[in-house]
Symmetry: C2
Subunit: 241 residues, 2 copies
């Protein structure tokens, strides 16, 4: 138990000794690349070592285990949630919407992060930076500090939940390997039996007339987000109520 167990306090290397051949950023970049193209399951210490041309156990000179690698990956992606040149507009609603949209876009580019960021939320440099920015967005609205945290937490809960399910939808299609037709062929018999049972009329309607007035997934995301912001706005102190 050294004095700093935390990854973010542990220096990457001691002052003494030979120059290190690799680096945490190198490791992190490779890991993100692998996870982006082959999924989180493809990440293993052996695989990452091979990827950067190192011996497997050499990685343990840079991180204390696989958990650290995951933490580094998350922090690196979270950095993108807040653009470096971001300036707040002063309109909390526009700012929050902008953040939510951007988070969604980044999450869609890195499909492995939504499930992780819901589960893991240790403080890390870029998460701290993002939280600070998000808090500034809702500052000065007459909310107490914990109310501000509640508002932000609510928005993030929605964004995370939505994107997770959005990705699951896409993944379900990709897992079977092919397109929607293939999926229907696979699940078809079961769904037909559901319809035929007559016990689930609403689902039956969904399966028969479901594709009629298709709602774009981006529009669905925006709908929920705007309804949430509507509800929040209506209860703001300045709004009277």
């Amino acid at each position: 138990m050294t004095s700093h167990e935390n990854l973010w306090m542990r220096p990457e290397h001691p002052a003494r000794g030979p120059r290190p051949t690799f680096s945490r950023v190198r490791l992190t970049e490779s890991a993100i690349q692998v996870a982006d193209s082959e999924g989180l399951a493809a990440i293993s210490m052996r695989r990452l070592a091979t990827e950067i041309g190192a011996g497997t156990m050499s990685l343990y000179r840079y991180v204390s285990g696989k958990d650290d690698v995951i933490e580094l990956m998350i922090d690196a992606v979270v950095a993108d949630y807040i653009p470096p040149d971001l300036v707040l507009s002063g309109d909390w609603r526009a700012d929050l919407r902008g953040l939510a949209d951007r988070v969604r876009q980044v999450m869609l580019r890195h499909p492995w992060i939504a499930p992780l960021s819901g589960t893991r939320q240790q403080p890390s440099p870029n998460r701290v930076r993002m939280l600070d920015t998000a808090l500034r967005m809702v500052d000065g609205l007459g909310l107490s500090f914990n109310e501000m945290l509640t508002v932000i937490g609510t928005v993030f809960a929605y964004v995370n939940g939505f994107v997770e399910s959005e990705l699951a939808e896409a993944e379900a299609l990709r897992r079977t390997g092919l397109d929607l037709m293939e999926w229907m062929t696979l699940q078809g018999p079961y769904l037909q039996s559901v319809v035929a049972s007559g016990r689930y009329p609403m689902v039956a309607r969904m399966l028969t007339e479901g594709g009629r007035d298709y709602v774009d997934v981006g529009d669905r995301f925006a709908y929920g987000l705007e309804r949430l912001l509507d509800g929040i706005a209506a209860r703001l102190p300045e709004a009277g109520a």
Copy 2:
């Protein structure tokens, strides 16, 4: 490639041959019990086999692999989302709130399911049943079918996202093994350096005056849910707008 690859269409056993010693429900119950008390990571085919007193490979007579076990676990828990004696009140808002509250309670009892249900959403008997019930809740409000699906999807996105993060919070404390004090001691040095840097004044405020007006986690859940329902209600066709 048999004619029914789907788990839910595959009969548990052929008509011929000796009586099976175990069953899917037995397997599922053991798996849920293990996951509840030791986490999802504790689930392995060897472990489950030991648990029910079977040879490891015997399990493969009942399921086609670990994926099937997970699917069975999810479906069994989802069954609890809708109480058997549930009757709809006719008040869509009360019904939706009741469902959301219950889903949260069930998820808190089975901490492993929130991350899974976000990622996996294959149709299974109890998920179909739940979806049908949820759709009935928002039927007759003048919404198109896909608008109804959008409303329900929005609420579930929020619930799932919130509970996932709620559990992550609790898990982060439990992972270090002990209570909040222990966590603070561990993360303390890093957080202090964050405050000391002066670059994140809002986070600094949070860490210093954060515990002042504590908001109960149940109240935070209710807050977000009610704001979401507010926003949805305001845009209902009957509401004019």
